[in-house]
């Protein structure tokens, strides 16, 4: 029987939420790694029982965890993330140069076909890969060595590599995004990279259309149409139909086009979800109403989804890695908030139910579809 497993990372540990295909009743397990920040937990598409988790604290740094049994038991694996060669410097907040320093793993993206291969996006921005189940990590340094690397600057959350998309039709094509450098793509399995930010405009920059420096918050892709990308930028919701070579603004009638997460419906590549928040200085839902916005037209025309979501006095945020979709039919959509709620919609966003109300602030949500 099919079901769904949600992997939830929070400020104070990880949780595993499971349900059958109805997605009505949920079993809640956790906290795992209590007291640690869990930026991300993700499962292998090739083996649903193989999970990877990023565990960190300011006291003890980075620990990596792996489960081979769907989250029942965990073992710490390798946590040494060394930049290749002489790390050099990147731009600091005040415009000076600052040494590259590893801080934490933000995002884990397992290979599509090999449970032992997993990519890690880290702060300060770099992409690492393990091919032995997380024991050893090697930087794909062609990204950070890009000639623009010294111009990359951190966003408010740090210089983090937070998005890793692997093209299912051609796994040597990967797209990543960094706050606040922008989006980059490789077509040769990670050896070489190029910025793909044409069409992005950031009024915070002296040159609004410069090659790098854009604060991309998240990029989403439909596996059935992998060259169509949707981006939630610092401001603006964007769309590309050529794998990022060019971008068009599709914010349309959104009440605000500032936000963090973005997701694409599992079966409808033109159906997109965002969670607008007031502005870059407020980070709360407009009018105190928590609304997911859905476009069925690939952007520009958006409808508010409110059924089951708080429509007064709500001032939570939804972080960039905290929204996910399952692949059941009808498709399910999930997100977690900084107020500790995890919401589920088993009907593509038409209605929502809070699975839990009082978790620690949610950093990430990943939905695994179980068969």
């Amino acid at each position: 029987m099919s079901g769904v497993r949600l992997l939830v990372g929070t400020r104070k540990g990880a949780f595993v939420l499971t349900s059958d295909g109805t997605r009505e009743d949920w079993k809640v397990e956790g906290p795992l790694f209590a007291g640690w920040e869990i930026y991300h937990v993700n499962g292998s598409p090739a083996d649903a029982d193989r999970l990877y988790g990023s565990q960190s604290t300011g006291w003890h740094g980075q620990v990596m965890q792996r489960s081979d049994d769907g989250g029942k038991t965990w073992n710490a694996v390798g946590n040494e993330f060394g930049y290749q060669g002489v790390p050099g410097t990147h731009q600091w907040y005040d415009g000076t140069q600052h040494p590259w320093e590893f801080a934490r793993v933000w995002h884990l993206e397992p290979s599509l076909d090999d449970p032992d291969t997993v990519y890690a996006g880290v702060e300060d921005a770099a992409l690492f890969r393990s091919t032995d189940g997380g024991q050893n990590w090697e930087e794909l340094s062609g990204l950070r060595d890009h000639p623009t690397g010294a111009q990359w600057q951190p966003g408010a959350g740090g210089l983090c590599l937070h998005t890793i998309l692997i093209n299912p039709d051609d796994p040597s094509r990967m797209t990543i995004a960094i706050s606040a450098a922008g989006a980059f793509r490789t077509d040769d399995g990670g050896e070489t990279w190029r910025p793909i930010n044409k069409g992005l405009r950031s009024r915070e920059l002296p040159d609004e259309e410069r090659e790098v420096g854009h604060c991309v918050h998240r990029i989403a892709m439909s596996p059935s149409r992998p060259d169509t990308l949707f981006m939630q930028k610092h401001w603006h919701v964007m769309r590309s139909d050529d794998a990022g070579d060019s971008w068009q603004k599709v914010s349309g009638n959104l009440p605000s086009d500032f936000g963090f997460p973005i997701a694409v419906h599992p079966h409808e590549p033109e159906t997109v979800y965002v969670v607008p928040i007031e502005s870059d200085s407020e980070h709360v839902p407009p009018e105190g109403k928590l609304r997911v916005y859905r476009s069925r037209t690939g952007g520009n025309e958006w409808e508010a989804l409110t059924n089951g979501l708080p429509q007064e006095h709500c001032y939570v945020n939804v972080l960039r890695d905290a929204m996910s979709v399952d692949t059941l039919d009808p498709g399910g959509v999930y997100f977690g908030t900084t107020g500790g709620q995890v919401y589920a919609s088993p009907d593509g966003g038409d209605s929502w139910t809070a699975i839990v109300h009082d978790f620690p602030a949610v950093l990430s949500v990943e939905a695994q579809t179980l068969s």
Partner: protein, 98 residues
């Protein structure tokens, strides 16, 4: 035997309940005790001092015989009471928050 007390998160990570016992050393120092600790519990590598540089993580302190020895020279011998196991070598995660 050298007795080491770890902060709670590291006890959990290492899977130990109380003190950690390490083989006695002739002239133990902070560095040699931490080397032995990481050898016995590889999962602790990187959580007390950085990989590669072995630099102490910012919020970690070391105590012996009630004294903060964090800033003592790395090669300075630990007190005889620690070397003999009469006193513990304490790894402390700084109190923070509010």
């Amino acid at each position: 035997m050298i007795r080491v007390v770890l902060p709670q998160h590291l006890r959990t990570l290492a899977g130990v309940d109380g003190e950690v016992g390490l083989d006695a050393q002739e002239r133990p120092t902070k560095a040699t005790v931490l080397d032995a600790l990481e050898e016995k519990y590889p999962v602790l590598r990187g959580t007390i001092r950085d990989h590669g540089t072995a630099k102490r993580r910012d919020f970690i302190r070391f105590f012996a015989c009630g004294q903060d020895i964090t800033l003592d020279r790395e090669d300075e011998q630990l007190p005889d009471e620690v070397a003999s196991g009469k006193e513990v070598f304490r790894v402390v995660a700084a109190m923070a928050g509010g």
